[in-house]
């Protein structure tokens, strides 16, 4: 997703390295009202890459807590779905042949 830089001069800080989502993008979208992990996931693909949020969900939840003023214990994490690790589609296709 492309977007204008709303805080010119700030340095790029990657929160989600898999999907290349920056802290600035996350803050901008939280300001626009996307203040849950699930919503940010849908607009930015944050946490949807190969590591499935293992690297970034914690940072994301902290940022949401800071911005919304809620304690982190009340920030809802993303729904966890299989697979926990990328699987080659060919492996799944082979499986159907049997």
């Amino acid at each position: 997703m492309t977007m204008e830089k709303e805080h010119p001069g700030s340095e790029e800080i990657y929160v989600c390295r898999c999907e290349e989502v920056t802290l600035e993008e996350i803050r901008t979208w939280i300001d626009r009202g996307y203040d849950t992990v699930e919503e940010l996931k849908r607009v930015l693909r944050v946490g949807m890459g190969p590591c499935q949020g293992r690297g970034c969900q914690d940072i994301l939840m902290r940022e949401l807590a800071k911005k919304t003023g809620k304690p982190i214990t009340e920030i809802e994490p993303a729904t966890v779905r299989p697979p926990a690790k990328p699987i080659k589609i060919g492996l799944l296709a082979e499986e159907d042949e049997e």
Binding site: Q52, D58, I72, T73, P77, V80, P83, A84, K85, E95
Partner: protein, 369 residues
Amino acid sequence: MKTLSTEILVIGGGAAGLSAAAEAAAAGAKVLVAESDLHLGGQLVKQTHKFFGSKDEYAGTRGFKIADILLSEIDSCKENVEIHTNTTITGFYSEDGTFTAMRGEEKYFHIKAKKTIVATGAQERLIPFPNNDLPGVYGAGAVQTLMNVYGVVPGKRVLMVGAGNIGLIVSYQLMQAGVEVAAVVEAAPRVGGYWVHAAKIRRMGVPILLRHSIRKAVGDQVITGAYITALNDRFEPEGEETYVDCDVICIAVGLSPTTEILSQAGCKMMYVPQLCGLVARRDRTMKTSNPDFFTAGDASGIEEASAAMVEGRIAGLSAAADLGYPTEHGKLDEYWGRLQALRSGEAGARICQGLECVLVNRWEDVSDD
């Protein structure tokens, strides 16, 4: 497709998982251990330092030797244990109670189990700072694996971020491997790890800068340096930035529990800061709200390997007992006694505080929301 069946599936072959497997197999249960790495032992295999804690949990023994002790214990009841290394449990499907598993990236199969012990450990926590995506920024645990398991040094001069036990121990081990440690920065006003580890690196001339953090990494293609800064009471940067010459930045700011499978199994989860993240609620037997799932080790809250081993034993014992295998009377209380002893220190007080939030006396009393 191939489906493997077992009585107890242990996910993770580290400190907690191996202890769980040993305990359950000794009680007579058939156990299958799935370990995503190429070898068993988890974090133990790279712990070249001697453990603290208590004698029951091998205090005074080096971590990788403890892994050997657990493996020989498992070997003594090997007819009950099936081990699958290089095997990741990729998912749990509650509609038919099936696990999907992948060996390497070549084999995909199913596993069915009567009881499951999730001992998946933890993942390294990262912090955001400019240029954190440059090559040369590592998790401290990753650096420890690189050096102590594969014999590869990460670079020449390291800035360590975090003065907990991992940051302190890895700093020392870097120096043992001939790598220079420029400084250790710690955001908190005090050292988080054991004093003895901090004293060791201070004696070697490494500064530990409290109330300091990394401000940004510097480099074009790779890390060539970093700016650090002092922090005020609210952990905000304050004052001048200082340049540190380094080619590696090591992040040791803590771990978070790895709990995907527990979430997929519908276990009631809770974010507990003292346990460092999202963990499953559990009773004294380490059983979760899904009666077929147990949790143990770092996956149930970040703590030392000594405690992980005892929790693993509790989970293994309880899973075997639930399947009807006779277990020694009073063993559960004995293990809880050991946990209490391990948690009697200052760090343990915080853990106990966290446990008070997640520990359930009777599942009947827990509401569904």
